[in-house]
């Protein structure tokens, strides 16, 4: 395997030595571009007290290309689909090489705090969110308890 770029080594080291509160990212031993990630649900959001598992991969062109990120824990959110795919601008058109693994994961956490049903990926969830927000939030809380409770 080709050697790991310095930038990825530095980012990984800093994720360990100076972790972001509420977020962990640990590279797989056999593939140092592939990270096992956990993100805590933000306080005062329907995802509060939940811990969500994600996976993150740095493609060959990183940092010219954004990391690939996916939820592994089921989550009820208008911008996250049933396969865990995330609709987030910095992962697509608004990527910049000035962003890093830690800033991307912070953006993911921020997305949990502010769902955007006007730019949906999961259409059924977004519809519920727009038509009956209380119901949708209750359901998001229920799913968090069911699938993302801390063990």
């Amino acid at each position: 395997m080709a050697s790991l770029p310095k930038r990825i080594i530095k980012e990984t080291e800093r994720l360990v030595s100076d972790p972001v509160p509420g977020i962990t990212a640990i590279p797989h031993e056999e593939n140092l571009r592939y990270f096992q990630v956990t993100v805590e649900g933000p306080e005062q959001s329907p995802y509060e007290n939940g811990v969500f598992n994600l996976e993150l991969f740095l493609p060959d062109d990183y940092p010219m290309e954004a990391p690939k990120v996916r939820f592994l824990t089921k989550i009820y959110h208008p911008n996250i689909d049933r396969l865990g795919r995330i609709c987030l601008d910095v992962l697509k058109n608004n990527w910049s090489p000035a962003l890093q693994i830690r800033t991307v994961l912070l953006s993911v956490q921020a997305l949990l705090a502010s769902p955007n049903p006007n730019d949906p990926l999961a259409n059924d969830v977004a519809e519920e969110w727009l038509q009956n927000e209380d119901n949708a939030i209750a359901k998001a809380r229920e799913w968090t308890n069911m699938y993302a409770s801390k063990q």
Partner: protein, 134 residues
């Protein structure tokens, strides 16, 4: 006392002359890092072996600086849309800066290709390095 020098080992140090770099990324102590590859300005981009003239630095109008290879690779991607990775302003080379002079030709083409189509009316004028430097 009489001293006799048998051998002299001259040692030189150098660094890029960057006017007004107060906005530069400062992460590891005082050394300025390229915002793309996060290696010191005075070091090399990931594809180069030797720092200095082989892997020069360029200075943006927005005072964000990068290894020329790093910024060029970024501006070549469709996602870049010609913007600086740090501040998302249209990226252009700062004028009247010595170390930019040699890199104008290299970046001119990339910058032209990444400008919005409306600016492409007069290709001849666009080809002038002066225009890109602004």
């Amino acid at each position: 006392m009489l001293l006799e020098f048998e051998k002299v080992y001259p040692v030189f140090s150098w660094s890029w002359d960057i006017p007004g770099d107060e906005n530069a990324v400062k992460e590891n102590g005082d050394e300025d890092l390229c915002g793309i590859c996060r290696v010191s300005y005075n070091g090399t981009c990931p594809s180069c072996k030797y720092p200095g003239d082989d892997c020069p630095l360029v200075i943006g109008e927005c005072n964000h600086n990068f290894h020329v290879h790093c910024i060029q690779q970024w501006l070549d991607t469709p996602t870049a849309k010609g913007l600086c990775p740090m501040c998302r302003q249209p990226f252009s080379l700062k004028r009247n800066v010595a170390i930019n002079e040699f890199q104008m030709g290299r970046l001119a083409k990339v910058l032209i290709n990444s400008q919005p189509a409306t600016l492409n009316d007069d290709q001849d004028m666009m080809m002038e390095p002066e225009f890109v430097v602004r």
